[in-house]
């Protein structure tokens, strides 16, 4: 994010100091805005709540819920084929549902679409059921031949927006779906 602090820094209860989640969320918002996202289908995630709230109230982007992740991949593919700027937001747990759609349609048909998936499992996870699956998500995606980039609290903040924008550009250059895995679980102060 460039310039003054994004309003998202102050939109969550608690105010300052900014948390890693809030800083990352602001960067995702900045990246999607720089991509002039017109449509943002989403399957919700608690860690992405700030991002989703921002786009739900956005004057020019249309953010709407989808029921399942593979359905979101299909809708995103249709929007992308129609030449619209769009992204799907979901949790990484939803790749189990959507891997067939991503590979047999997105990948096989060379649809340059952007999926932003929030990370579950690992540091900061509060759900006992997801770690075994979630920790293997990057390996699963790699094994399926899907392109992905990762963002977490160790990623320098200026890289977040640049990665999102670059991921979409890469999807168009390489003619394939691209996934950005964003870990927004850490709520500890960033400094």
């Amino acid at each position: 994010m460039q310039g003054n602090a994004h309003p998202a820094y102050n939109t969550s209860p608690g105010g300052w100091p900014p948390t890693a989640r809030r800083l990352g969320s602001a960067e995702i918002i900045a990246g999607l805005e720089r991509l002039a996202i017109e449509f943002l289908p989403f399957v919700p995630c608690s860690t992405a709540a700030d991002v989703l709230a921002h786009f739900r109230a956005h004057p020019s982007a249309r953010a709407f819920p989808v029921t399942r992740e593979e359905e979101g991949v299909g809708i995103l593919a249709g929007l992308t084929l129609a030449g619209r700027s769009a992204a799907l937001m979901m949790q990484d747990t939803g790749f189990g549902n959507s891997l067939t759609a991503l590979t047999t349609f997105g990948q096989a048909y060379h649809v340059p679409m952007l999926v932003v998936a929030t990370r579950t499992g690992g540091l900061g996870e509060i759900n006992a059921a997801v770690p075994s699956y979630s920790e293997s998500v990057p390996d699963v995606l790699h094994a399926a031949g899907l392109s992905l980039f990762t963002l977490d609290a160790r990623t320098p903040l200026p890289e977040w927006e640049a990665t999102l924008v670059g991921a979409k550009r890469y999807a168009e250059t390489a003619h394939r779906p691209v996934i950005v895995l964003a870990d927004l679980k850490r709520e500890a102060p960033a400094a």
Binding site: E38, F39, P41, R62, F64, P65, V66, T67, R68, E70, E71, G72, V73, G74, I75, L76, A77, G78, L79, T80, L81, A82, G83, R84, A86, T100, A101, T104, F105, A108, Y109, H110, V111, H175
Partner: protein, 187 residues
């Protein structure tokens, strides 16, 4: 009415509309009628034709009375039924979902689907779709005309006979199919 009969009617009624054809025997029969720029032939991804059509209907700037047509089977419709809530929420006016219902998974050997156990048209009507029923070519012709005349989303419940036309696999490169279709949309 066979599937091929139904596909002929749909293609004749929608020569300049984007058409998404579901996987299996449906795209084989669709392609046998001539490979067209306005058709997206899905070679796999069962259940995804509806959501793709929903995205197209949201994003494609169709001309007045232009439509986005999805050709789905009863099995694929049930597999992709999660779209129902999203469809009810967004209700894109240009979307026409033609469900060719033969009561079986014809492409995989004729195993029964569960479609006979529920009223598919009523399900989509409950989601805010306009609906029409067709059991022969004349009925389908009329249903397609109705879907052209009034804003949707529309769900056309089309009864067809079980079985497939004996045709070879359709194996065009999916990337070529998508590129041709996207170029058609960008005209």
């Amino acid at each position: 009415m066979t599937r091929l009969d139904a596909l002929r009617e749909i293609l004749a009624a929608c020569p300049d509309d984007p058409v998404v054809g579901t996987c299996g025997a449906t795209i084989r029969e669709l392609a046998s009628l001539g490979v067209r720029d306005n058709c997206l032939y899905m070679q796999n991804s069962m259940g995804l034709a509806g959501p793709i059509g929903l995205g197209l209907a949201l994003g494609h700037a169709a001309p007045e009375h232009g439509r986005v047509v999805v050709i789905e089977g009863d099995g694929g419709t049930l597999m992709g039924l999660s779209q129902l809530g999203t469809l009810a929420l967004l209700r894109p006016a240009s979307l026409v979902l033609a469900v060719l219902d033969n009561g079986v998974h014809a492409s995989t050997g004729g195993q029964p689907t569960a479609a006979g156990a529920l009223d598919l048209a009523a399900v989509f009507a409950a989601a805010g779709c306009c609906t029409a029923q067709a059991e022969d070519e004349a009925g389908l012709h009329a249903a397609l005309a109705a879907a052209r005349a009034a804003p949707g989303p529309w769900m056309l419940h089309v009864r067809i006979a079980p079985g497939n036309a004996p045709l070879p696999y359709y194996q065009e490169d999916p990337a070529v199919i998508a590129q041709r279709f996207a170029a058609f949309l960008a005209r």
